[in-house]
């Protein structure tokens, strides 16, 4: 067997600082997951995205399984964000962006002109790289979307929903005394969890996360990773990350992107121990990217 080495922050075990990083032979690292689910939530078929005619995502097809975490990795600029933003049509906001291909969600192509983009986005939530709470109170941040979609009708329902979402996001205990403070007054990690809480408040079936931890310190990242672990029981999660350990820790399946192309897509355990492609191997061992 090839000897692969990856970094492990070991955080879950001792909660200590990054400096504790150690190199462990991958063969000893037996926690890597495999996909077990048989149900496909999203089926991406030949998606090509271009900005001003310049192709950023090139003819990608993949299936995303229900109640699993799918990680997207790849060097900077390879089109991960562009791809993930296709899944809830966030690219529609960008003017010079053209998208071809199909994305089937429960039997319906989301690029079908009849699909209501607003409805789609209530189904597929998104968490961004930089925490982006609205400049409103924590309470209003959570209740904003449920109110829009008419999910709550009175104050007590709202209170319940806020509490439930914040608890699910593991934030409730930290902020329960200051729900009326501005969302921007929280720490970065708390803000990001607030954004997750805000997303799950409307019960999406899928959550897209674009580098949710890149602006956070390791401890805050670890908390979010744990959160992802619990959330996936209910929700399908697609996560973009630059942190290979994170991908290895949280995901069942991993996709490796390079220059807009999907190079390899399979079980996380396969990608990190026995990749089929040379480029994947090069990337995860840190030889390029």
């Amino acid at each position: 067997m090839r000897q692969l080495y990856i970094l492990d922050t070991n955080l879950r075990r001792n909660g200590k600082h990054m400096a504790e990083e150690q190199i462990i032979p991958i063969s000893k690292f037996n926690k890597l997951k495999k996909s077990t689910s048989k149900k496909v939530t999203i089926s991406v078929q030949n998606i090509t995205v271009s900005y001003n005619g310049k192709i950023a995502v090139d003819n990608i097809s993949m299936n995303i399984n229900q109640n699993e975490v799918t990680a997207l990795i790849g060097p900077s600029g390879c089109g991960k964000s562009t791809f993930i933003r296709c899944l809830n049509r966030m690219n529609d906001v960008i003017e010079n962006c053209t998208i071809e291909g199909k994305i089937i969600l429960n039997g319906i192509n989301i690029y079908n002109p009849e699909v209501d983009i607003v409805k789609l986005r209530t189904n597929i939530g998104m968490v961004f790289q930089k925490p982006n709470p609205f400049p409103k109170s924590i309470y209003d941040n959570i209740i904003y979307a449920p109110k829009l979609h008419g999910l709550v009708s009175n104050k007590s329902e709202s209170d319940d929903l806020v509490e439930k979402s914040l608890t699910e996001a593991g934030l409730f205990n930290e902020v329960k005394d200051r729900l009326n403070d501005s969302g921007t007054s929280l720490s970065g990690g708390q803000q990001q969890r607030l954004c997750i809480a805000r997303a799950i408040a409307i019960n999406p079936s899928v959550i897209l996360m674009d580098e949710p931890c890149s602006a956070l310190d390791p401890i805050a990242s670890a908390i979010i990773e744990e959160l992802i672990d619990t959330l996936k029981k209910k929700i399908t999660i697609i996560i973009v990350t630059h942190n290979m350990q994170q991908a290895a820790r949280v995901s069942e399946k991993t996709a490796f992107f390079h220059l807009g192309k999907l190079i390899e897509f399979s079980d996380t355990s396969t990608i990190f121990t026995n990749p089929k492609q040379k480029r994947t191997l090069g990337y995860i061992t840190g030889r390029f990217g």
């Binding site: 969600l105 699909v115 607003v118 409805k119 209530t122 079936s205």
Partner: protein, 427 residues
């Protein structure tokens, strides 16, 4: 649970939300349409009222420079030639043309077909070339404003005679002149070669344009160096402290002080305290300079800020002093931006009227100013004065003056945009 929502991504969101969304969009669109249609209406009104001022009615007459009337002694002395009754020459030829007796009760109505000032044209002809005396020459004389308006179709002939500016008898005469081909419409040169006058048909904007030009000249000479230097100081040298903060607040506030207040300043400081001449372009220019100073400072600072620090560091690393780096490297790079800003500030100053009213640049000044201390008026002030005259001919000229002013502004702004595009740099 989640599958409940899943299945209806085809079904639209609640109609209430869709309606609100649509309504919002329509509001935005109609706001834009409102603003643009106002712009269009404004331009169309001014243009439709003003374009006719660019041509003018003339009456072609055979003028007999009768020696007996002009200079019976034949001495050709300047004073005699100067004071001769040239109006009579005109009326004689007019009566002859129309076959009307000079004692006809309505003969004065016929005389008034020709602009009152036309005798000056004849006098100048004679003074230029005394040999013309005794000859008969075809001359195009400026018609009076009422005739001009009638020919342009601005006087309704259907209303009763006493409500009309032009009598039936005059109309008859005009029609006769017309059928004989004596009525011409030509390009209105007077508008560009004459200054203000009580008679609309011989009034022009030359004096006002020169006045405006002098004002701008003074304003540029003062506000551009001071503004640019002040901006360089504030942007590049000033340390952040209370004093520079105060100067900054001052400049930002000055940019929003009503222009009329600058007029009051000019009146009490430049005219009452320093005794500079009232109504003169120098005072006007000073006031406009102070007014555009804050704008120039603000744009210059923005242009300096846009030059990246690497340029300064690069020059300083080569052993230039900070002063040299800024004047030799940064300032040239910021110049296009500064020019754009200065032109826009000046365009605004060119259209400014209120402060000029305060310092008396709205007097009736029929002479074209020569020096910057001569009494003068400016283009917008001229528009203001003409707008006060109810005559149709002045409405036409006001609109024409506005068109001229607007075309100056368009040229200036176009230059500014051109400079910006031509030299725009992305760092």
């Amino acid at each position: 649970m989640s599958s409940i929502i899943n299945n209806d991504i085809l079904s639209p969101i609640s109609s209430k939300r869709t309606r609100k969304e649509k309504l919002f969009k329509i509001c935005g669109l109609s706001a834009i349409i409102f603003a643009l249609s106002m712009l269009i209406i404004l331009f169309i009104t001014i243009f439709s009222k003003g374009y006719s001022a660019f041509y003018q009615t003339r009456i072609k007459l055979n003028i007999n420079f009768n020696e007996e009337l002009i200079d019976p002694t034949g001495a050709r002395e300047i004073t005699t030639l100067n004071t001769a009754d040239y109006s009579k020459l005109i009326s004689q030829s007019l009566f002859k043309f129309l076959n009307i007796d000079k004692n006809h009760p309505k003969s004065s109505e016929i005389k008034s077909l020709i602009s009152y000032n036309s005798f000056l044209t004849l006098r100048d002809r004679v003074l230029n070339d005394p040999l013309i005396i005794g000859k008969t020459v075809k001359i195009n004389l400026i018609a009076s404003d009422d005739v001009d308006q009638m020919i342009k179709g601005n006087i309704s002939l259907n209303i009763s005679e006493e409500n009309r500016k032009i009598s039936d008898f005059q109309i008859e005469a005009i029609n006769k002149l017309k059928s004989d081909g004596a009525i011409l419409t030509v390009f209105n040169k007077t508008l560009f070669t004459k200054s203000d006058s009580r008679e609309p048909e011989v009034s022009g904007v030359l004096g006002a344009i020169i006045g405006s030009f002098y004002c701008l000249f003074v304003a540029v000479c003062i506000s551009v160096p001071i503004g640019v230097f002040a901006a360089i100081f504030l942007q590049e040298f000033a340390k952040k402290n209370k004093i520079t903060d105060f100067i900054e607040i001052n400049i930002n506030n000055l940019a929003a002080v009503p222009s009329i207040v600058f007029g009051l300043l000019g009146l009490s400081v430049f005219i009452n305290f320093f005794h500079l001449p009232r109504s003169s372009p120098i005072v006007g220019g000073l006031v406009l300079a102070l007014m555009s100073l804050p704008t120039i400072v603000i744009v210059t600072r923005a242009s300096l800020l846009a030059v990246p620090d690497t340029i300064r560091d690069g020059a300083i690393a080569l052993g230039a002093s900070k002063m040299q780096a800024i004047f030799n490297q940064v300032l040239p790079l910021a110049t296009p931006g500064i020019c754009t800003g200065v032109i826009i500030a000046l365009a605004r100053a060119l259209g400014e009227t209120a402060p000029l009213l305060m310092i008396g640049m709205i007097a009736f000044i029929p002479d074209t100013p020569i020096a910057i201390t001569d009494p003068a008026t400016a283009l917008p002030a001229q528009i203001f004065m003409w707008a006060d005259h109810p005559e149709r001919a002045f409405v036409e000229r006001t609109s024409a003056a506005i068109l001229i002013l607007l075309s100056f502004l368009i040229v200036m702004n176009a230059t500014a945009i051109y400079i910006r595009h031509k030299f725009e740099k992305k760092w």
